[in-house]
């Protein structure tokens, strides 16, 4: 699952990575704070969309990212996969 910088409001095309709550290899649960991004005087928390392992972090702290760009990738845990399969039956 990709972690994407969401729309933050009109006229906001990019944000600066302010703080990573996780590192590559960390296990994260759904809704855990993953990364904080800054725009003007606001810090926005992006949570994990699913439980799994953080496999990649593409943008470092202090760097800018465009709205819609991929910030990180989470490999969804097998448990989550099983639940997803169960739900699809």
């Amino acid at each position: 699952m990709n972690v994407v910088l969401p729309q933050l409001g009109g006229g906001i095309g990019k944000a600066t990575i302010a703080f990573w709550h996780c590192s590559i290899g960390d296990f994260v649960k759904k809704d855990d704070d993953l990364v904080e991004v800054a725009t003007d005087k606001a810090i926005f928390n992006i949570p994990a969309g699913a439980e799994g392992i953080v496999k990649e972090i593409y943008v470092k702290t202090g760097e800018d990212a465009a709205v819609g760009s991929i910030l990180a990738r989470i490999e969804i845990s097998k448990l989550e996969d099983r639940e997803k399969n169960d739900n699809n039956r």
């Binding site: 409001g9 302010a18 003007d40 005087k41 606001a42 810090i43 926005f44 928390n45």
Partner: protein
């Protein structure tokens, strides 16, 4: 809108109360809070703040009993002290279009409306979030947002000792700070100021927001 007047409260203590309110607002999406308080002297550093904007050494800060607290809000270094009204609105921005800059703009408008009640003309300066009187800053703003619930907020210099700001470059800028008292309006109490700011928030965001 639930109003909580915390009085003079340590920054850390107020942060714990904020966190509890934020969690409640995330759980019950229609719940919102307005926390009002003053803090003993403290410096807070936003996520991307630069330590060099604090002009004192660690030893000197210790000697003056000034603590420095990193916080998860936007903006640079900010000073809080008695005589400054700190407002933490904990609002769900899903109800107002999920727009961070629009919300910051609304907070600036609240500040300008509030100052008007003291016959003071506040203004915004493009690219410098906050409220200004001429070139002097009177209201600082910085927010955090989790699951579209906003926290932290704004601090208004009512009758704060302006000399305290000499220890920092407020918001990372070389700016002069001012206060309502310094602008010649001093015939009111902090309690009056709190009542006024609550009214302004309720008018702008609605009592039920």
């Amino acid at each position: 809108m639930e109003i909580k007047d915390l009085g003079l409260v340590a920054f850390d203590e107020a942060w714990k109360i904020q966190e509890r309110c934020v969690n409640q607002a995330i759980e019950a999406r229609d719940k919102c809070f307005l926390l009002l308080c003053e803090h003993p002297v403290v410096l807070t550093l936003g996520r991307l703040a630069d330590r060099k904007h604090i002009l004192l050494s660690d030893q000197e800060l210790l000697r003056r009993n000034i603590s420095v607290v990193p916080v998860n809000r936007g903006g640079e270094v900010t000073l809080h002290a008695p005589g400054q009204l700190v407002i933490y609105p904990i609002f769900n921005l899903e109800n107002s279009g999920k727009d961070l800059h629009q919300y910051l703009h609304e907070l600036e408008e609240v500040g300008i409306d509030f100052l008007r009640l003291f016959d003071i003309v506040g203004r915004r300066i493009s690219g410098k979030t906050g409220v200004w009187i001429g070139e002097k800053k009177i209201i600082s703003i910085g927010i955090g947002v989790r699951k579209w619930v906003a926290f932290h907020g704004m601090s208004i210099n009512i009758a704060v000792d302006l000399n305290l700001f000499d220890v920092i470059h407020p918001c990372g800028m070389d700016v002069e700070m001012t206060s309502i008292e310094h602008e010649g309006k001093n015939s009111f109490s902090m309690e009056d100021a709190k009542k006024k700011i609550v009214n302004v928030f309720q008018q702008r965001f609605g009592e039920d927001s």
